[in-house]
């Protein structure tokens, strides 16, 4: 009995790890599905019962790794409110797509009585896989990216959060006259992540 109980208990730290993992696969999926990088620079990886594509481009990995580590840190400190992946055209700098992940953190302490929440990890993985599946499916309605594009990652945090090295203040990079599609959400019982994608209409 005690075994199952500890297995299903999710701490803030563990939840941050799960969400970071989701972002890792989510961002890679978007990069692959939206063809920001050549498809043969990605390798297949089994995860959440899906075959996901993860980049093996050394430069890109070196770019994403510190980013995700910082995100995990902020998640574990309950400071991350939103993560946005902005896709913009290289030449005109115009934002054409915006993947928004709203993060809602439950009131959980880092230690002590109120440090854990109950949720089956299998269930969480199932929910995450549903979101990733939707990201893959979204290619069918998102407009074709005609121009060369690049991406940026924005983070919404509390005002008092210190900006580490490599992080700079930025605007929201909103899209004028955009269409928005709400995707599924998932929750680790500590963090709930709500995904939507906005794109330039016509």
């Amino acid at each position: 009995m005690t075994d199952t109980k500890t297995q299903n208990a999710i701490s803030l730290k563990g939840s941050a790890q799960l969400v970071k993992e989701f972002f890792h696969f989510g961002i890679n999926s978007i990069l692959y599905q939206r063809a920001l990088y050549p498809s043969d620079t990605f390798r297949r990886e089994k995860k959440y019962g899906l075959t996901l594509l993860v980049t093996q481009d050394a430069k890109l990995i070196a770019f994403l790794e510190p980013l995700l580590q910082q995100v995990e840190y902020w998640l574990s400190k309950k400071q991350l409110k939103r993560l946005v992946m902005v896709i913009s055209e290289v030449r005109s700098k115009e934002v054409v797509e915006r993947w928004q992940f709203d993060i809602h953190t439950e009131d959980v302490d880092e230690q002590g009585e109120n440090a854990t929440r109950q949720k089956d990890e299998k269930k969480i993985r199932q929910e995450i896989s549903d979101v990733l599946r939707q990201i893959t499916a979204s290619v069918s309605f998102l407009p074709l990216l005609e121009e060369p594009v690049s991406f940026d990652v924005l983070i919404y945090t509390a005002k008092n959060t210190e900006a580490p090295e490599n992080w700079t203040e930025s605007g929201a990079c909103l899209i004028q006259n955009s269409e928005q599609v709400q995707l599924r959400s998932f929750s680790t019982a500590v963090h709930s992540v709500n995904t939507n994608v906005q794109y330039k209409a016509d």
């Binding site: 940026d152 700079t168 929201a172 955009s178 599609v181 709400q182 709930s192 906005q198």
Partner: protein
């Protein structure tokens, strides 16, 4: 009634059950989220009939704000974090849609709307939905700050990478399925269709003597003089009207602009002069528009135009300079120094999309330069940037470079004496060598021409032979044509894929090697033809 066809069995009962199923089965996890989903389902069930009559419209996929979201199914079903937001949206929609009818006593929602109404309900709804995504709801709140990770520093994909979806769905024909060209027998005429005598043609393998313009005027440089030859009418004109400028030395490079309006000549002194063939002669200059000079540059042989008025020139010193011919201080960037070439630049080519420039040099390397180093944003001169890639595998001087015009992302470089190979590089894969093709054992390769209709590569080499090489898995040489007893110096293609060669015997020859059968659909695939790209 255990088995039944449920495809059309959409009774209110099953809708309600589906809604319940959504709530209970899948999204129960996210705590409050699950409950609100259920609420959406129920609300929809209750007010569905009324709201349908009220709006009389098909909900779009964005209707997750609309109360009757259960109609849309659960594919894009949103999850509201709190009910307040939901109620507010409901209020906004009803408020806007039935703007004037705020009187709570007036319940006749089904009454027809005033005909003076400027916007249809659909427009209003759309406007509201769209405003939501660009309005302040998505923006940061008062107590939030937005941070960006390494702004604009995401590593770019390999240069020349084209979104594959774009290739699939666009009509420009970037990919040309070679398999569709089924040719069992390919007859190549071994004889030239025209032979011209050109006494005075400089016997210099590092010079460019001819260029074929899009208007079918061929410019031929003979030491100090230039002749224009119209290949359609056969007219020949002396460009300088018997008073060629002698003070700059011999002409070492000839180049038409893409549109054929301007002729550019490179001189042994390093001067580059731009001429307008239609300009009347003056007492001092014949048709000259301007002279581009750079300090220390000697002998300019390689020239390449970009479409936006930038002329890229390569000099004997190994320097490559970009000139903006429209402005007074014409030098916009200089590619040289440690990372640049150390000896003569022999050839320059811009890729079809002008994202990169390939240069060949007598220092046994070929280099590829990025477009971003052409011009700086603040009008300063860019000096000595690092090339994108250096190819130093050739065993002799590199005498020519050419981008493939039918297969995306292939660059060919031709080696000079002592090398005699053509090497193919994959631009998209960090310039991996795709293939080394031995062309000529005794000499070098002077010119490479790609043919789109046949997916073939033609090379001109020092042993006087033209060789045609199939672009399939084996890259086998399929035909050899004896063009001269001496070395071939230039090899250029016309807009109609005729081949013009010059050789050490001081003759010009035109070959028609890539004739297309007009009765087949091969011609269709050639439209739109990339005029100018083939022209050196």
């Amino acid at each position: 009634m255990a088995f039944r066809d449920v495809t059309n069995g959409f009774t209110p009962m099953s809708t309600a059950m589906r809604a319940l199923d959504i709530g209970a089965g899948r999204s129960k996890g996210p705590g409050s989220a699950g409950r609100s989903t259920m609420a959406i389902g129920r609300k929809g069930g209750a007010s569905q009939g009324l709201s349908l009559r009220k709006r009389d419209m098909t909900p779009t996929r964005n209707t997750n704000i609309v109360p009757n979201a259960s109609m849309v199914g659960d594919r894009f079903l949103g999850v509201r974090m709190n009910e307040d937001e939901f109620d507010r949206a409901n209020h906004l929609i009803n408020h806007h849609m039935h703007g004037k009818k705020e009187d709570s006593l007036d319940t006749s929602h089904s009454a027809p709307n005033s005909p003076k109404k400027e916007l249809t309900e659909g427009d209003r709804l759309k406007r509201m939905l769209r405003a939501k995504s660009s309005g302040n709801i998505t923006d940061a709140k008062e107590d939030e700050r937005i941070l960006c990770y390494k702004k604009n520093l995401a590593p770019p994909p390999a240069v020349g990478y084209v979104n594959q979806a774009k290739v699939l769905y666009s009509v420009s024909g970037v990919i040309n399925p070679a398999s569709s060209v089924k040719k069992s027998i390919r007859n190549v005429s071994q004889t030239a269709i025209k032979v011209l005598d050109a006494p005075g043609l400089a016997k210099d393998l590092y010079s460019r003597h001819v260029d074929w313009g899009v208007h079918n005027w061929v410019a031929v440089a003979m030491t100090n003089d230039v002749y224009l030859w119209n290949t359609e009418s056969g007219d020949i004109k002396n460009f300088f009207e018997d008073s060629p400028p002698m003070n700059e030395g011999a002409i070492t490079g000839v180049k038409w602009s893409h549109d054929g309006k301007y002729l550019t000549l490179g001189y042994a002194s390093g001067a580059v002069k731009i001429y307008d063939p239609n300009r009347p002669r003056t007492s001092t200059n014949v048709r000259e528009l301007r002279t581009l000079r750079v300090g220390g540059g000697q002998r300019c042989a390689a020239m390449a135009w970009r479409k936006n008025g930038i002329l890229t020139t390569g000099y004997k010193s190994g320097d490559i300079v970009n000139h903006d011919v429209r402005i007074h201080n014409h030098v916009v960037s200089a590619w040289g120094g440690e990372a640049g070439h150390s000896r003569d630049v022999t050839d320059l080519q811009w890729s079809a999309d002008e994202s990169m420039c390939a240069s060949a040099s007598a220092d046994r390397t070929a280099k590829v330069w990025e477009e971003r180093f052409v011009r700086s944003t603040d009008n300063s001169i860019i000096r000595n940037p690092s090339p994108l890639h250096t190819m130093d595998e050739h065993l002799g001087q590199v005498r020519c470079v050419q981008f493939c015009n039918f297969r995306d992302g292939i660059l060919a470089t031709g080696g000079g004496t002592g090398d005699g190979t053509v090497r193919l590089w994959d631009v998209k894969r960090n310039f991996q060598q795709l293939k080394e093709i031995s062309i000529c054992a005794s000499g070098g390769v002077g010119g490479i021409v790609f043919n789109r209709a046949y997916s073939e590569m033609l090379t001109a080499s020092d042993d006087g032979l033209l060789r045609i090489c199939r672009f399939n898995a084996s890259y086998k040489i399929s035909h050899e044509i004896r063009a001269s007893a001496e070395a071939l110096m230039d090899c250029v293609a016309s807009p109609n894929d005729e081949i013009l060669t010059t050789d050490m015997e001081e003759t010009l020859k035109v070959y028609r090697l890539f004739q297309v059968d007009k009765s087949t659909n091969i011609l269709d695939r050639m439209q739109p033809r990339n005029v100018g790209f083939n022209v050196r």
